[in-house]
Symmetry: C2
Subunit: 261 residues, 2 copies
DNA sequence: TGTTTTTGTCCGCTATATTGTACATATGAT
DNA sequence: ATCATATGTACAATATAGCGGACAAAAACA
């Protein structure tokens, strides 16, 4: 059923894929779970999950926590993630860019990337506004629901976009159906203009601005976004876009530096 | 040859173990490598490594980077690591503790943990001194080489310690042999006193101070350390230890908070 | 130019990892 | 007390994953 993996049905799953399915599931749940619960909720054989969980535990990829035999992501993953972050050293500059955006606009600023075939907020700086942002950091959101999504898939061909995005993700949170062709048209428009803005699909009171942060290959490796109240956003549109473009330009000079050592 | 895993010789390796061996190896190398190089350097069959690398690439665990087909740790690992960090929310308080230590002592302060059966510096705050610290963040160091190492294994029995630490890690960087029984005696002493200090084994000009940061189970989940010039360290010993204990106490109140959601 | 090394792919064999099933225990409901 | 559910372990069957080795292209070298 999953459009990306799970080729055929009734086949045996590879241990590695199952393992990372477990890890992703724990990340999504954001809490420690018992092996039994994991097996039930991801629809995997219990014996397999127990075997894999024990393997991952002995490698430090998972850890016992929360008692009752519950497990969650382990320290080893933290170390590996830190190594990634260190290599593609975007964190420091990213925080600076968000800081700058927050200062200049007083709005919520986000740094977003793709996580597989989903959109995710990697870092966020809350604005001075009194309302809360609907997406939390690290949560996976369907690409079509977001302004950034238009930019993050713009390097793909129309067909590749359709293959890449799970079909059910075109069902918007309100239940409406976003015609894929409409989405693609917006992608191409965003690509031409180097930005995308719209009234948020996820809620009814925000306006979203997104500009690309281009990586080594020239396409949008990430985006910088502002999430604003609708009237403020529309009133300050040009200024906000200028701020975003300025901040994005500051991020683009050295997306992946060679390593110092 | 690896004392910890690789039970018997001539056996087939499990894919999952090989996969994480690859990931750890890349982390240790801290650079993108070709699959061929990886296979050669970790002593694994080339065909297996190619298969695994491709699997990991398609899962976002590895990424192409650096050209020439080289691969390095992928974005997915960053997300998983961020989820871990978010769950066991030690980062913020940890930075505050290091900041405080740096202010009070002007020396290099480190937050250290075990990574498997090695010691590693998780976060560091450089002091005002003009010399550099010998261990970089994220590098794996044999446990017996470090002051913190005495504290981090103190919850294990003598026999478990010997099983846990690879025998060759008792060979010090200078080539001398540290008798395991000597090490264990120092572990027990550190356990009793709740601290360990010594002239660094790794270099000839620093003195190291370490105190435990106790986790849920009551044993040292991490350590806070100071690395100082020898004469300064010895002159300020009592004050430095007070600072460390104070900072460690500040970290211990909520090692793993329940999650908010 | 010929030779060696590096790099990547392909394929068949077989050791084994995944899985269904059965079993055992604890917990909770009635 | 009885039944049902949740949780973890043990084990055998077989689909397959890991491995060795063959092959080929490209790069390095002589």
């Amino acid at each position: 059923m999953d459009a990306v993996q799970d080729e055929a049905a009734g086949k045996r799953a590879r241990g590695l894929d199952r393992a990372f399915e477990i890890l992703d599931f724990l990340r999504q749940k954001r809490q420690a779970l018992k092996p039994n619960e994991i097996a039930a909720q991801i629809g995997a054989p219990r014996s397999s999950v127990y075997e894999l969980v024990n393997l991952l535990l002995s490698n430090g990829i998972l850890e016992f926590t929360g008692g009752e035999g519950r497990v969650y992501l382990g320290r080893k993953l933290y170390f590996l993630g830190a190594a990634y972050e260190n290599h593609f050293d975007f964190t420091r500059e990213c925080e600076a860019a968000l800081e700058q955006l927050a200062d200049e606009t007083r709005e919520t600023a986000q740094f977003c990337m793709l996580d597989g075939n989903k959109y995710t907020v990697v870092r966020m700086r809350e604005g001075a506004r009194p309302f809360r942002i609907s997406t939390d950091i690290g949560q996976s959101v369907p690409i079509p629901w977001t302004a950034s999504g238009r930019l993050l898939v713009a390097h793909l061909s129309d067909q590749d976009i359709l293959n890449f995005i799970p079909p059910q993700d075109f069902r918007l949170p309100g239940g409406e159906w976003l015609e894929p062709q409409t989405f693609i048209a917006e992608v191409r428009q965003a690509e031409r203009e180097g930005l995308f803005t719209f009234n948020s699909i996820v809620d009814s009171f925000t306006h979203c601005f997104a500009v690309p942060v281009r990586g080594e290959e020239g396409h949008a490796a990430a985006t910088l976004c502002l999430v604003t109240p609708r009237d403020d956003g529309i009133a300050n549109r040009d200024r906000y876009l200028d701020c975003l473009k300025k901040a994005a330009a500051g991020l683009e000079h050295a997306p992946a530096r060679p390593r110092r050592n």
